[in-house]
């Protein structure tokens, strides 16, 4: 046992292992302070309230987007004035014939 210990102490690997073991013994687990648990709950609550605010904000944004969509839908689906295609074509043709008259050569007499 003593020889084994001596052999370990002689090689650097063994000394390093012993040093780590000594370090473990030299660093016992610290006692938590009295404020540890209350401090932890404060942090949990702070994050929880932040998450709650974020959730509320996102819900507000979703509601606003839904309202905008609804209004856009209503606007686009409102009834158009009832003008038929034939009415539009007729109006256009009468305008064309007036324009043709202007295109007669100078001095040309209309019959």
């Amino acid at each position: 046992m003593v020889d084994q210990h001596k052999a370990r102490a002689e090689d650097p690997e063994g000394r390093l292992s012993e040093l780590f073991a000594a370090y473990r013994a030299a660093c016992p687990d610290p006692e938590p302070s009295a404020t540890f648990l209350p401090g932890l709950w404060e942090k949990i609550e702070a994050r929880r309230s932040f998450a709650y605010r974020l959730k509320r904000l996102s819900r507000g944004i979703i509601t606003a987007a839904a309202v905008v969509c609804l209004l856009m839908g209503l606007f686009l689906s409102r009834p158009e004035p009832s003008v038929s295609y034939v009415d539009v074509l007729t109006a256009d043709q009468s305008h064309d014939s007036a324009a043709d008259e202007d295109l007669l050569p100078a001095g040309y007499e209309r019959n």
């Binding site: 650097p12 000594a22 473990r24 610290p30």
Partner: protein, 197 residues
């Protein structure tokens, strides 16, 4: 396991009292691990609270209570990584620590038994902190978990999510890097001790 599965299940389901009991059962051990991982006693509680905060918000992702302790270690390691990443290491401070360390090591090498036990422990702490500060944070954390916390390879597999062989290789390399620094320190201390004597 420091607590029974039923308590963990209750905490998972949002029972705050059960969660407090889990914290009380594990806080001392976790704070000890953090203290050895980061080597800064003044920041241990902050990092510890961060670990339990992450636990609180990730407990519902835990599939089976059997892996709870490995899960806790994983959270602890991640929080320690984040802390070490944030902490800016001051090279000049490390250099002064090292030179002071060499003097302390020279004292230790002299092997005077009349020194007080507290002083010896302090030197061991400073020496190992200095050694572990000289390697990367990945090496530091891996070696601390294996060599100081005494986690088995199976437990480390669960913490890191890599297979045993890969872990063995990483451990071997990390250990070799620390050993190199350790031998260099011993050599310098021997020279310092010799020149004093």
């Amino acid at each position: 396991m420091a607590v029974d599965f039923e308590l963990i299940q209750r905490a998972r389901k949002g029972d705050d009292a059960a969660f407090s009991q889990v914290v009380q059962a594990y806080r001392k051990r976790i704070l000890g691990t953090i203290a050895r991982l980061i080597g800064r006693p003044e920041d241990v509680e902050d990092v510890g609270q961060e670990v339990f905060l992450r636990l609180y918000y990730s407990l519902d992702q835990l599939r089976t209570p059997e892996v709870f302790e490995a899960w806790m270690y994983r959270l602890t390691v991640n929080a320690a990584y984040d802390y070490l990443r944030r902490r800016k290491r001051r090279a000049e401070a490390r250099m002064s620590d090292l030179s002071e360390q060499q003097v302390l090591w020279a004292d230790a090498a002299a092997g005077t038994e009349r020194e007080h036990e507290a002083q010896r422990r302090k030197r061991v702490r400073e020496l190992v902190d200095s050694l572990l500060s000289s390697v990367s944070k990945e090496d530091r954390i891996l070696l601390t978990l294996k060599e100081i916390e005494g986690l088995s390879l199976k437990e480390l597999e669960k913490v890191y999510g890599v297979n045993e062989n890969a872990l063995k290789v990483r451990l071997f390399r990390a250990r070799q890097r620390v050993l190199k620094v350790y031998e260099a320190m011993e050599g310098k201390a021997a020279v310092a001790g010799g020149s004093e004597g």
